[in-house]
């Protein structure tokens, strides 16, 4: 039986707050019948407002869900409610034989998983490879052309001066960004667009804009020579341009690491176009980042919740500083993986210096440290035993929760460290991890 879930971990799966609330109501045993479980799954019939009850199945290891209700949210409140019920009263979902409607879905999943492990051979391997190579070559040329244009544009920006650019406004930045999108370099386009937003924003904008332009210029100079560079840096440049590594390519070529991975924190950002979720794992003495994207109306693929342990193999995307990974394979092992080893503040600054040496464009680092929250006016900082501190960049609710958990004593804290400061995602005052 896989390690039982806690209610907190189940609720972390909810796509939004109203789903979490609805899930509680659906965890009332009174609306469920035909409940059962196996080693890998839960199932039940949920009485909704219609005549026929909804058939709900949960495949636990991932987890994956199936429900016959018409809800567009994923996972739906019935699936969440079933998991909540199981988390709080496992006895109510006794072991048994899966009924037909649940078994057929579960078996289908098992079949498809087996198929993925042995991918079908392509029709004509030579032809397919040739076509792929042609596409890549075309794209490469477009990117190089786009970079040449960017090179000239940056030179012009500096010749005419940033003050001049501020007067002319953001529009030229947007136009350059659009041309980079056409050149199939979306990563660069994003940078140029963000530079446009820096124009005139805040008292330090000229220094920020210059630094951004300078790093972009570095990219523009380095990319045409990327074949000459070491593997890690080459991969980094390609990813900064916006080349994505396909899943097959990754699973075939990326570094594989097997072990027990503790999820230490999850952050989720949403704007009107996109939802991005970063899931941070610690295992085998290193960090891993699972990155998931979805359109706001679509479900995000399943990933571990803060505190959970994932047993299996990760495939790391090639990079100057390998961090981003995908789950290649999951084991059914149980058992909690250890919490990250915590650094001092000085140690974290040293790590950042080393990271920058390997990848000057890095803008977000995982940071685990043992520190005490210290309040300085409106802002908070995390100070270690040597009285050195990192500034906290987070909503006041997060900082207050952290202060309450710490009680003026040092605690283990994990967060994302960017130029603005550290954003705490979780803390462990004792051995128990609390998501913030």
């Amino acid at each position: 039986m896989p390690a039982a879930w806690t209610a907190e971990q189940v609720l972390a799966l909810a796509p939004d707050a109203s789903s979490a609330k609805a899930a509680h109501k659906q965890s009332n045993p009174g609306v469920w019948s035909g409940l059962g479980s196996s080693e890998r799954a839960l199932w039940g019939l949920c009485q909704g407002s219609g005549k026929q009850p909804y058939e709900t199945v949960v495949d636990l290891p991932e987890p994956a869900f199936r429900c016959s209700c018409p809800s567009r949210k994923f996972p739906c409140k019935h699936a969440l409610g079933l998991m909540l019920l199981w988390a709080s009263s496992p006895g109510a979902v006794a072991a048994g034989e899966a009924p037909g409607w649940a078994a057929s879905w579960l078996d289908g999943r098992a079949e498809r998983a087996a198929k993925r492990e042995a991918p079908a051979a392509p029709q004509d391997p030579e032809k397919a490879a040739e076509q792929a190579a042609k596409r890549a070559a075309r794209r490469e040329q477009r990117v190089l052309d786009g970079l040449a244009e960017l090179r000239l544009w940056l030179d012009d920006l500096v010749r005419q001066g940033l003050a001049h650019a501020e007067q002319r406004g953001r529009r030229e930045f947007e136009q350059m960004a659009a041309r980079l999108v056409d050149a199939q370099a979306p990563g660069l386009a994003r940078r140029v667009r963000e530079m446009g937003w820096t124009l005139g924003a805040g008292p330090d904008w000229p220094a920020k804009l210059l630094a951004d332009a300078a790093l972009l210029s570095l990219l523009a100079d380095a990319y045409p020579r990327h074949d000459e560079l070491p593997d890690g840096l080459r991969a980094e440049l390609r990813s900064q341009i916006g080349w994505t590594t396909g899943t097959e390519e990754l699973l075939a070529g990326g570094e594989r690491v097997r072990g027990a991975w503790r999820c230490v924190g999850v952050s989720q950002i949403e704007d009107e176009n996109l939802r991005v979720r970063r899931t941070w794992l610690w295992g085998e003495a290193r960090w891993a980042l699972l990155l998931d994207f979805a359109h706001p109306s679509q479900p995000l693929p399943p990933a571990p919740a803060a505190g959970q342990t994932l047993h299996g193999e990760l495939a790391f995307y090639p990079a100057a500083l390998p961090l981003r990974a995908q789950i290649a394979e999951q084991d059914g092992d149980a058992g909690e993986a250890p919490l990250p080893s915590c650094d001092t503040v000085a140690g974290l600054y040293r790590e950042r210096a080393e990271a920058l040496a390997r990848n000057p464009w890095i803008d977000r680092l995982p940071a685990a440290l043992t520190a005490t929250p210290v309040r300085r006016g409106d802002r908070w900082a995390l100070a270690d035993a040597d009285l050195q501190a990192i500034g906290v960049e987070a909503p006041s609710a997060t900082s207050l929760d952290l202060a309450a958990l710490a009680g003026g004593k040092p605690v283990g804290v994990f967060g994302e460290w960017t130029r603005g400061g550290l954003r705490p995602l979780s803390a462990w005052p004792d051995e128990r991890l609390v998501a913030l």
């Binding site: 806690t6 209610a7 907190e8 609720l11 707050a17 979490a20 609330k21 609805a22 509680h24 109501k25 009332n28 045993p29 009174g30 407002s49 709080s88 940056l154 030179d155 500096v158 010749r159 005419q160 001066g161 940033l162 003050a163 001049h164 000229p206 220094a207 210059l210 630094a211 332009a213 300078a214 790093l215 210029s217 570095l218 503040v345 000085a346 600054y349 950042r352 210096a353 920058l356 000057p360 005490t372 210290v374 309040r375 900082a381 100070a383 009285l387 050195q388 501190a389 990192i390 500034g391 207050l400 929760d401 202060a403 309450a404 958990l405 009680g407 003026g408 004593k409 130029r419 005052p429």
Partner: protein, 448 residues
Amino acid sequence: MSLEALTQAALLGTARNAPPEVELPEALATEEAAPERRLLRDAALLAVMGEAGELPDRVAALPDPAPDESRPPCPPAAAQHLRAILRGPYEDALPEWLNALAKTGAVVPPEALRELLDRQWLAPRLERVMSERGRWLAAQHDEWEWAAGGDPAERFETGGRDVRLHVLRTLRADDPAAARELLASTWGQDNARDRETFLAALATRLGPDDEPFLETCLEDRGQGVRAQAAALLSAIPGSALSRRMAERLGPLIGTRLRTLTVELPDEDAGEDWMTARPPSGMGKRAWVLWQIVAAAPLGVWERVDRDPAKLLSRRIADGMGDLLDSAWAEAAARQRDTSWATALLDRGYAVRELIAVAPQAGERLLAGGLDTGLLDALPTPWSRAFSETVAKQLSGDHPPVHLAHALGAHGDPAIADRLAGATHPHVRDAAALIAFRRTMLSTLEETR
């Protein structure tokens, strides 16, 4: 050489001004000829070097840690329920949860402190389960001043109005005499509004020891304070004021066969603390009578009937019925007289304060015609019988949403199974809430 100088040059543009020379280690020396290229390259190097070379911030000192807890922590299962209450659809269960936690002697979990401290309207209940950690945290944030611990006397002297009231109420529940003395200590400097508000706090654990102070309040400059003091004195059995009222009232009461007669007193038969101007529609002497009846011990009426139910069933002469009902209700509420409150409620006299004094009679009255406006006067949880009555009312096609919600939030959790099979969404919500309350209460019961 700093990024600042390069930034200045970049602002102006290299077309007009040559960028400054930047001295760099030999390994990083560049052959770039064009000034804009040189500037960008130097800027990139300095930016990355600057960030990599950044030194950590320092703090002067670490904060004083929170004191250790002297009371047991909240059980983890109960903490999960609290999270469901604060983040889920069960917020109505929060006051009940806090009460149940208080009975176990435990304190609230640290991760819930911020959300609980923000709910100042629950201050009296939160006070009983506040942890040392919570007080420590509250002391550092002005908006949570009410929860910061400390010497009550000092806080009462220097705090804002909200804090003072909270401190006084909390102290009064613990040590009534100390609270009264604290109130007396600033009495002279407080304004009339504060005096009136704070005086009301003495209603908790009221006793004969409060009489001397309250007697001095009968001569206060503020009319509201005088009236408040008189109301409190009339609730202390055997107080001088209540004896005087009994003496005045006695001679006015009579019977003519089965009819109750009450004479009007003289216009000047009142006392200084009474309001002179009657409410509109009432004569001056009638108003004096009302105030006397409201302040006199209900025992005076025993000379007519020992049982208030019998008394209330009598005919009342001269159309005084309404006036007397109103005054009796006031007296019963102040004196917390269960048998009078019961008798009045049984005769259909529906008043919130009486329901609080005699909940059983209140339930009987409300069951007869469910006026949802008064349901919240009943203490939570309702009796099992009343809960069943309300549950029956919800079995139709259009169960009233407020009734369903009230049952979910205040009904006896023992009837939870009765609602389990409900189909209407309002009732299903109520069923979920009451089932949750049952679970949360049994978890806390287990840890007592």
